[in-house]
C-alpha cells in the first residue's frame, strides 16, 4: 500500500486545496450538528416535559404523538420530506436554503429521542419530590422549574451525551441533499482524486475527533453538576 497524503495539497480546481475544502466541510458539519442540537434540545425538553404533566391528558397525548411520529421514520426519509414535500405545502419555505431544512429535519428527529430521555429522567425521580414541591405551595410550573427539572437534567446527562454525539454523526446524512459537509466532501474528493483511502481516513478522523470532543465536554458538565451522594445510572446501548 503506498500512501499519497500530498493529495490534500492539490488544487481542487477552484483555487483552494483539498485540505482547505475539507476544513470548510468540517465547519459545515459542525454548523449542521450544532444548529440541529439547539433545535432538538429546545423542542425535546418542551415535549419531554409535557409528557410528564400530571393533569393535562391532551398535552401528554400531543407530545406522545410528536415523539412517535419523529422516532419511527428514518432520518433520511425525514430529510427528503423536508426537502421535497414540505416546501410544496408551505410555498414560503421554497426560499429557505437546504441547510435550514436539514437542521429542521435532524433537529426534530433528535428532539423525539431527547423528549424520551427527559420523560424517563422526570419519571425516575421519586414521587416525593413532586409532593415536596406541592407541599411548599409551588404551582406546577414552579415545581418543574425549581424541583423536578434541575434533578432530571442531572440524571439524563449520560444519555444526553450519547444523543449529542449521535447528532454529530447523523449530520452525515445531510449529504443526501447536497450540503457541503464532510461526507459530501469525502464522496466528491474521492471521485476527483481517486485517493479514496487517504480522504476517507482523514474524514473519519475528523468525525472521531469531533465526537470525542463532544464526549469530553459532556463529561466535564457531568462532573460539574453532579449531586453528591447520588449515583448516576449509565444508559445501556441503543441508538446511533
Amino acid at each position: 500500500m503506498n500512501w499519497d497524503w500530498k493529495v490534500f495539497l492539490n488544487d481542487d480546481g477552484s483555487g483552494r486545496t483539498y485540505l482547505e475544502w475539507m476544513f470548510d466541510a468540517w465547519s459545515w458539519t459542525l454548523a449542521v450538528a450544532g444548529a440541529s442540537w439547539v433545535v432538538a434540545m429546545v423542542v425535546g425538553v418542551l415535549f419531554g416535559t409535557l409528557r410528564t404533566l400530571p393533569n393535562s391528558p391532551w398535552l401528554v397525548r400531543l407530545a406522545n404523538v410528536w415523539v412517535e411520529l419523529f422516532r419511527n421514520i428514518p432520518l433520511l426519509v425525514q430529510i427528503f420530506i423536508w426537502y421535497f414535500v414540505v416546501p410544496k405545502i408551505f410555498p414560503a419555505m421554497k426560499e429557505l436554503p437546504s441547510f435550514v431544512l436539514v437542521v429542521f429535519a435532524l433537529g426534530f428527529f433528535t428532539s423525539a429521542r431527547i423528549a424520551e430521555q427527559v420523560r424517563a429522567g422526570v419519571q425516575s425521580l421519586p414521587r416525593g419530590q413532586r409532593y415536596a414541591g406541592m407541599a411548599m405551595g409551588f404551582t406546577t410550573a414552579q415545581t418543574y422549574r425549581y424541583v423536578i427539572l434541575p434533578m432530571a437534567f442531572r440524571i439524563i446527562v449520560p444519555p444526553l451525551t450519547s444523543e449529542s454525539m449521535n447528532v454529530l454523526k447523523n449530520s452525515s446524512v445531510a449529504f443526501a441533499v447536497s450540503i457541503a459537509e464532510l461526507t459530501m466532501f469525502a464522496m466528491q474528493a474521492q471521485e476527483e482524486t481517486s485517493r479514496g483511502i487517504e480522504i476517507y481516513l482523514a474524514v473519519t478522523a475528523a468525525y472521531a475527533v469531533s465526537a470525542f470532543a463532544v464526549n469530553r465536554v459532556f463529561a466535564f458538565i457531568e462532573k460539574k453538576v453532579q449531586i453528591p451522594g447520588y449515583i448516576m445510572a449509565g444508559a445501556a446501548g441503543g441508538g446511533h
Binding site: 419511527n72 421514520i73 426519509v77 420530506i81 454525539m165 464522496m187 445501556a236
Partner: protein, 228 residues
C-alpha cells in the same frame, strides 16, 4: 393544497418497484441482527475475559465503530472490499452494493449489539457465576449454560429496539445505491414524476412497521417484567 395523487401508486407499480426493495431491507435487517448479535456477543466476551490481548482489540473495535457515522462505514466497505471478493459469491458482481451493505451492517451493528450484550452479562449477579463454579463448571460451561442465556433473555427488549433502529438505518444504503425499500419508492417516484407522493408513502410504510414493532416490544417487555 398539494395536488397529491396517491391513487397513482397502484399494485402494478408497487410490485414492480417496491417489493424488491422491501425484501432487501428485511433481509438486510435480519442478517445484520443475527450476525451482529453473534459477533457482538463474541466481542462482549472478549472485553469481559480479563485477558488484555483479547479485551484491547475488542474495545478499540467497538469504540471505533461507535464514534464514526454509519454512512462513512458504508462508504468505507464499498470502497475497500476488492472486486475479486464479489466474484466469489454467486451473482455477486451484479449486486456489489447489496453485498457490501450486508457486510457493513453486520460489522457495524456488532459494535452496538456488543455493548448491549456486555451490559446484559454484567447485569447477572455474581452469585450466579459463583454457583456455577461451585458446581464445578468451567468458564466456558458457566458462560454457555448460566450467564449467556440469562443475559440474552434480560436484553431481548433492548436487542429488539436496536433491531428497529437498524431497520430504519437500512435506508442509508442510499449512499451506495443499493436497492432497498426507500430506493424502490424513490425510483418509482422519479420515473413517474411523483417524488412527493413516493417519499410520503415511504414514510408511512416505515412508520407503520416501526411503530407496530415497537408496540410489540413494549408488550413483550411488560410480559418479561412480570416473570422476573
Amino acid at each position: 393544497m398539494l395536488g397529491l395523487d396517491l391513487s397513482f401508486f397502484n399494485w402494478d407499480i408497487i410490485s414492480k418497484f417496491v417489493i424488491k426493495g422491501f425484501w432487501f431491507s428485511i433481509q438486510l435487517t435480519i442478517i445484520a441482527t443475527l450476525g451482529g448479535i453473534i459477533l457482538g456477543t463474541i466481542l462482549a466476551l472478549m472485553r469481559l475475559s480479563g485477558k488484555k490481548w483479547l479485551a484491547t482489540p475488542a474495545t478499540i473495535y467497538v469504540n471505533g465503530m461507535r464514534s464514526v457515522p454509519l454512512v462513512m462505514v458504508i462508504l468505507w466497505f464499498f470502497l475497500l472490499v476488492p472486486a475479486g471478493f464479489y466474484a466469489l459469491i454467486p451473482g455477486g458482481s451484479n449486486n456489489r452494493a447489496e453485498i457490501s451493505a450486508i457486510i457493513t451492517f453486520v460489522a457495524f451493528e456488532a459494535a452496538y449489539f456488543s455493548e448491549i450484550m456486555r451490559a446484559g452479562i454484567q447485569s447477572i449477579s455474581r452469585g450466579q457465576v459463583n454457583a456455577g463454579r461451585a458446581l464445578g463448571m468451567t468458564y466456558s460451561q458457566n458462560m454457555k449454560l448460566i450467564v449467556l442465556p440469562q443475559a440474552f433473555r434480560n436484553m431481548v427488549p433492548i436487542l429488539l429496539t436496536q433491531t428497529i433502529i437498524l431497520f430504519q438505518d437500512t435506508s442509508l444504503v442510499y449512499a451506495i445505491g443499493a436497492y432497498d425499500l426507500l430506493k424502490g419508492f424513490s425510483t418509482a417516484g422519479k420515473i413517474y414524476g411523483r417524488t412527493e407522493e413516493a417519499y410520503l408513502l415511504a414514510a408511512v410504510v416505515y412508520f407503520v412497521m416501526c411503530f407496530g414493532l415497537s408496540y410489540m416490544v413494549k408488550r413483550l417487555q411488560n410480559k418479561i417484567a412480570i416473570i422476573r
